[in-house]
């Protein structure tokens, strides 16, 4: 008897990685956004998230096209420029049981969409907000965005003279409960951060430096592959142990900060920056501001708070999705209308 064909590798809910794939990318070959899509696929696969239980929401720009390139079995909404937060907020309150991933870029978030970004952070709605950050408006051929670093140079020699908006510092200050920065080229760090993000209950803001190979990957750019490879300074080494993983590794609590996530999984941050406490909001913002002064690019998990109520908690909503509540629960009975009418007579 011939040996059986080896069954394809599946994750812990029995799905192959193919179930997490998307359409063919139409972004430039080598674009950092494609690497991020790959990591999202791996993270969702490894975390065993059912693709049908995911909503992908995006704004406008190269980054916002990328939901088409991963997880075709998930519903996706590519909205208008800078307004991903509003669409995502509406969808999340309509169906709180979904895992929601918001894809945005630096122009979409820090320029046209800054207002919505800030207010979303205040609400701490459960979702993963990814800024695919390349420092330029690529779809319109390479103008500076608001996250371009002071002194960074465009291809044509133009130098940025305005300070960069640090989306991480803003997110921490305003109320996001999981904030980190990564680099599309750092597979290991990014994957761990994404997995922890999936496990987190609250707003996750991940600013992922994602070099634009066409308009911002040259000498003098602070968002190029080369610059990031040379200047990426992780403040911690990000490790993640999923709730269904049996592996138990001893660790030195003096050197590692461990956070227990809502689903029972664990985020382990090995301290690289001396005594860095990722639960200290003010310190996190200080470190980021100092890094900007010193022209350093810090990566890692800057801030985590697993205890803060989300906006859904504040809304005191039922556990079921609002969108599919039956008529009996959403249309009050005739007696209610009769009583209202009687009071108006």
């Amino acid at each position: 008897m011939a040996s059986a064909t080896p069954s394809p590798k599946v994750n812990y809910i029995g799905l192959p990685i193919l179930a997490y794939r998307g359409g063919k990318s139409t972004l430039c070959p080598g674009c950092g956004d494609n690497a991020i899509s790959e990591r999202i696929i791996e993270a969702m696969y490894e975390m065993g998230v059912e693709p049908e239980r995911v909503m992908k929401i995006s704004g406008i720009g190269c980054s916002s096209k990328s939901p088409a390139y991963f997880m075709s079995r998930s519903h996706s909404f590519n909205g208008v420029h800078g307004r991903m937060p509003a669409v995502a907020s509406g969808a999340i309150v309509a169906n709180r049981t979904m895992t929601t991933i918001g894809l945005s870029g630096d122009g979409d978030t820090a320029s046209i969409g800054l207002g919505q970004f800030l207010h979303l952070m205040r609400r701490n709605l459960p979702m993963i907000y990814i800024v695919e950050d390349n420092g330029v408006f690529a779809l319109t051929k390479g103008q500076f965005s608001a996250t371009a670093d002071l002194g960074s140079k465009l291809k044509n020699g133009l130098v940025n003279r305005l300070p960069a908006i640090d989306t991480c510092a803003l997110a921490i200050q305003l109320g996001a409960t999981f904030v980190g920065r990564s680099f599309s080229g750092d597979k290991k760090q990014l994957l761990s951060m994404l997995k922890a993000a999936i496990a987190h209950k609250g707003t996750v803001l991940l600013d992922i430096i994602s070099p634009c190979v066409t308009f911002n990957d040259h000498e003098g750019s602070t968002k190029s592959y080369k610059f990031m490879q040379e200047n990426d300074e992780p403040i911690n080494e990000v490790g993640f142990v999923a709730s269904f993983d049996e592996i138990e590794v001893d660790y030195d609590s003096g050197k590692v900060y461990e956070a227990e996530m809502h689903d029972g999984s664990r985020l382990r941050l090995r301290k690289l920056l001396e005594d860095y406490d990722p639960t200290d909001k003010a310190n996190a913002v200080r470190i980021l501001m100092e890094a900007q002064e010193q022209e350093e690019i810090l990566t890692g998990v800057f801030y985590i708070n697993t205890g803060k109520p989300t906006y859904l908690d504040l809304l005191n909503m039922v556990d079921e999705p609002l969108c599919t509540l039956p008529e009996s629960l959403i249309r009050p009975p005739k007696s209610a209308l009769d009583a209202l009418m009687a009071a108006l007579r």
Binding site: P51, H75, S89, N316, P332
Partner: protein
Amino acid sequence: MATGNFAPCQQQGALSARTRVVNDFSIKISTVNGSGSQSANSVLMKSIFGMGVPVGGKNLFPSNIAGDPTWFLIRASKDGYAGRKRDSEILIALNPETAEADLRALSPGGVIICEEALNHSLNLDRVRDDIFFYPVPFEKITGTICPEAKLRKLVKNMVYVGVAAQLLAIDLAVVENGLRRQFSSKQKVFELNFGAVKAGFDYAQANLVKRDPFCIERMNGTAGKIIIDGNAACGMGAVFAGVTVVAWYPITPSTTVIEATKDLLKKLRLTPKGKATFAVVQAEDELAAIGMVLGAGWAGARAMTATSGPGLSLMTEFCGLGYFAEIPGVIVDVQRAGPSTGLPTRTQQSDLLSTAFLSHGDTKHPILLPGSVKECFELTQAAFDLAERLQTPVFVLSDLDLGMNNWISESFDYPTKPLDRGKVLTAKELERLGGEFARYRDVDGDAVGWRTLPGTMHPKAAYFTRGSGHNEASEYTEKPEEYQAIMDRLARKFESARQLLPAPVAVRNEGAKIGFLAYGSTDCALCESLDQIRQRYGQQVDYMRLRAWPFAQSVHDFVAAHERIYVVEQNRDAQMASLLKIDLAGGQAAKLRSILHYNGWPVDAEFITEEFAVKEGI
């Protein structure tokens, strides 16, 4: 005993004895904004209602928190006319700044009730010799019954309620009953206020000699009826339509739509465990509000927002996305005078054209046009069904007059039909179809595709929603024929909407050559005007009230059946007439004439009648 209650003119006989005027006059209460007169005005209005007399109240208030002049008009009308009466017969003058001008505007033979001290300082009784004067020492009366200085400003208002009740022969027990209901849970507040009413009543009884002809007599005109404002009615409509997500940004005059919705949701939509079956999100601006509505509508919730002109402008881009990506949502627009900030507390019907085509590109939206508070309730409900049935944003255009003023109405009826949640495929249905699903395919011939909701547990359920060019399967496309096919189907869907939207309401008379078209809050003034036209000029005319855009075929038929059509509306640019001209067949458009009122105050019957007479040369 005060004897100098009447202007010298009366002694000269300028005011001849008149027959009594019963249940047919308008009271203008003139105060300073922020003086807390609202509950007093409401009590007076509801007391007239309690006497069985049809009544309505209009608050003509400034865009200001405190200090500017404000007027409240109470119209008692045995015939049930609810429009603004151009001239008032009775003035309660409490604002020194406007007292003289208000007095000059009174109808001849009218009445002024004013602060005695004000009369002395302004010599009001010398201004006109054809008015009945009733000076009342409001300050003094209030001082004696309300020792607490900080409450006096509020309590003083109740004193004029008492004076007016006595002069107009309103049963004090009716006033008491109304007050008791208003302050049902606060016995002390009730006592203080009723004390003030009583003091005013007693003062009038002891000191004023009734000489004017105006009075309220019990009649049976309010049995089973209610008094409510249009915004509260819209909110009620939303709640009984099963709204689940409300996202909004405060803006006058729509704010109370959401406040009413929220209050009712908290009262009626908690589970036995106290959990909310709804979410109300105050957004950072109108862009976010409509974005949330579309996000929620896309996910399958019944979502709404309410706004006014400036907010609607900000929603423009998203509304185009909602149209093109075919996402349900309800937008209540309570119109105010614009453009820009315009007159935020004054009324207009001037958002019609901008709403019809809100956004860039080829875009058009179904619009519902409630003409009464009852229709605010019914059409807001209908908007939710239509938005999900047609998978598109649906607009309810109310206005400040309808939305923020008090209207008498038949009681609202409980909906007879179940909610229409539109075409949604479940996982089971997808299974039955073998996963064969294309989001934008017209499988039923009504140009409306089937949709799936996020979370549908079938591997073929998902689709990619986008504002960029897409084909039937919602895949990105820039192919001319694929893009155009979607645009053509959207145009066909708009034709489907024609059949589904609320039909117009027509009043036809045999052989009438002239027809009127109007919509929204213009209805009340127009109905009164049509009676005037009949009485004064012996003209029989027809009237069709539009309730939606796109227009039903019957609108075309109505225009075709008349020689001349008067379109009456409250904007400068004849916006409804413009929409009609786009739709009407050649030749028919030439029949349209416009009567336009756009100064910010609600249109009144006299205005329409006079304009009509001038245009007809009669």
